[in-house]
Amino acid sequence: MTNIIKGGSFLVEEVDINRVITPEDFTDEQKMIAKTTEEYVANEVLPVVENLENHEFEHSVRLLKTAGELGLLAADVPEEYEGLELDKISSALIAEKMSVAGGFSITHGAHVGIGSLPIVLFGNHEQKSKYLPKLASGELIAAYALTEPGSGSDALGAKTTAKLNAAGTHYVLNGEKQWITNAGFADVFVVYAKIDGDKFSAFIVERSYPGVSVGPEEKKMGIKSSSTRTLILEDAEVPVENLLGEVGRGHIIAFNILNIGRYKLGVGTVGGSKRAFELAVQYANQRKQFNTPISSFNLTKEKLATMASHIYASESLNYRTVGYFEDRLSQLSAEEQKDGKAIAGAVAEYAIECSIAKVFGSETLDYVADEAVQLHGGYGFMAEYEVERIYRDSRINRIFEGTNEINRMIVPGTFMKKALKGELPLLQVAQNLQSELLMMMPEEVGDEPLAQELYLVKNAKKIAVLAAGAAAQRFGVKLEAEQEVLVNIANIANQLYAMESAVIRTQKAIERDGAEKAAQKLLYTQIFCQEAFAEIEKEAKDTLLASVEGDAGRMTLSALRKLTRNNPYNLITKKREAADKLIEAEKYIV
């Protein structure tokens, strides 16, 4: 009997906290895998970061082979094809720990993620047997070629064409794929092209095929340790058996791989954020001005505590999302596990969560990296400081795997679709809310740990429904054009998912270890929830002002005021308390 957590249900329903995975639930084995990855990065990759940044990519190839020997490329490859078939948490932990390597983590991620996964999920037995063992060992290196000069966010607008040759043995591909990670040395490319100019399809293209070449190395702002080039296809001859999936069904592959790419990017940003934080707090302890370590200044403490509380929220929501995949995929039958479509269905279920993980993770990293540079002062602007590279490397995360703007649109768009299909009970919840708001009385919030935060989450859900409902009522099918409102709603969903994930994690920790041992987690949750709730209030107000006018507008705004009524803390003392622990530990701790 399957019991599925519905994607997007956090907006309208309560979740069983026992089904939410938190970092405190990791097994010893998962921690050991994380540690091996950390040691691999520290001992193998970091000593040659300078070389990698200078585009000496022979190191990338060598490092991927070493990673292959350790099993770091085989997590998502089935045992049947010489992989390790690890759980999704382990695979995510590898991505998180790898991110400390900077641009090389992009090389690794492109290989194991978007490069290999299309074959893992959608390849037939022959394709899997031919490629997966070698991809898992690092003997072959993979890349993913979707973007074109004229089609980025509009991926289906690709111009690359494929035409079956007269003999029926090969597809002949023509076109250019732009900004292809690993293109400098990849052996295998997953390429999207339109058969006869209209049937969007995927192909496995080997570098050695006639007509396949690459352009010069791109000059980039960051992630310089990764290779980025154009893939050029000039009458490239691809054997017919290398068509991946079905003719004209390439978009199924593309969208599902994007979803996976997004949550993997999310966990990667968690690792990057922790590293940036560590550098910042260590520097703040070392650096003295006015004969005082700058970490003793209250404004430094304010920054450190806010950074850490964001990392806590990001970490919590990212692993919650990974946990949903693990939960869902482990419920598939052995038969379904081998069926790309069944897996794709499981992945698509959490499109909303994947987009939030990507957006929230990348914005947390960008914010933490920015503050880490700021805490370094002028030194943070100097290239010999690691934080300078982190700052530049961070920026791409808000752009690739779907810009954060596109990903924001996906959240309300997918939510409304699910509601219309009856998968999520938006209508019912909205109606209940209507009557509830009419006779709503101020609620007494207790003073036990998390009482306030649970109250804020509960009301944030109502606010989300109020705002989404008002917008849907006002604009109907034309809501798609109201991008500003869509982004308002997406921001509410982002903050709500983050708040709830942090609360659940802390709740579980308190249940297990008691409130005293979970003190730091509780502080992060209090800090984060109060600030996130203020943002939700603002975004909801903007949505309502755009959606409801006149008397009805005033009434809805007053409903919002009722829902946002709360007794906030003095966050200054909370932040100082949280920061003191961080300054002592000299790293992000929970």
Binding site: D28, L70, A75
Partner: protein, 257 residues
């Protein structure tokens, strides 16, 4: 070849030591395999791969030490033994540890025992030699190279920065010094295999050891942190005057001459 490796669970080297109430606080601290023991494990695995046989890692401690044993299994050891003293003993010292290990090993067929040169926590370096003495076998400490040919053994050992070359025979106990090898980290396939490898748990009862036999002989009088390192000082002026001042400071301030 039957190889045993003595392993100790110790504080992570990056951990900050906090002393309170006369004790080192372990709450929330990370623990690792004693780094010198990692050289011993690595050497044992290499010797087994070259000569055949079995590597068994042994530790004394509580339930928590299972994690370090699993790590050793993931590195490539074949079996693990946890001698769990959690319920029976409050304290262990060099004497009691060696005694317990000897009782465990006395009826085993042992060709080679490897241990770390010292544990980074207690730092006595005594358990290995004491155990060899109790078992009546040879031992060599702080080794940096180990060659085995039949039962003949050639060893290079570190003697305070210099090297000494020795020849001896099996059975033998050696303790590993930095430089012996480069310990591997567990590969992911290794980690997956480790959970299926045998990990035996024994208590003092299983070894017919009476608690009185292992009463500690070391009394800890006080535990305190080393004094904070003060900032350095750069002397200036004429060279002669600097030398004079340095001698004076070493005499009056540092009181070392």
């Amino acid at each position: 070849m039957n190889i045993y490796v003595l392993v100790k669970r110790t504080f992570d080297t990056e951990e900050k030591i906090v002393v309170s109430g006369g004790k080192i606080q372990e709450d929330g601290a990370e623990f690792i395999i004693n780094p010198y023991d990692e050289y011993a494990i690595e050497e044992a695995i290499q010797k087994r791969d070259a000569l055949g046989g079995k590597v068994t890692v042994v530790t004394i401690g509580g339930e928590d030490a299972e994690k370090q044993l699993r790590t050793a299994l993931a590195m490539g050891a074949d079996e693990a033994v946890l001698i769990n003293t959690e319920d029976d003993l409050d304290e262990l010292d060099q004497y009691s540890s060696a005694y317990i290990l000897a009782e465990y090993l006395k009826d085993k067929e042992v060709d080679l025992i490897l241990a770390g040169n010292v544990a980074i926590d207690g730092g006595s370096g005594q358990v290995g030699p004491r155990l060899a003495d109790l078992l009546g076998i040879n031992y060599v400490t702080t080794i940096t190279s180990l060659e085995i040919d039949g039962t003949n053994v050639k060893i290079v050992r570190d003697i305070e920065g210099d090297s000494e070359v020795l020849e001896t025979t099996l059975p033998l106990l050696v303790t590993a010094q930095q430089g012996l090898n480069e310990p591997r980290y567990p590969s992911l396939p290794g980690i997956m295999k480790a959970k299926k490898k045998p990990l035996e748990e024994l208590e003092l009862d299983d070894l017919d050891i009476d608690e009185d036999d292992v009463e500690v002989k070391v009394e800890t009088v006080e535990i305190y942190l080393p004094p904070q390192k003060a900032a350095g000082r750069v002397l200036d002026g004429e060279l002669q005057a600097q030398v004079k001042e340095l001698v004076n400071l070493l005499h009056t301030e540092a009181k070392v001459i």
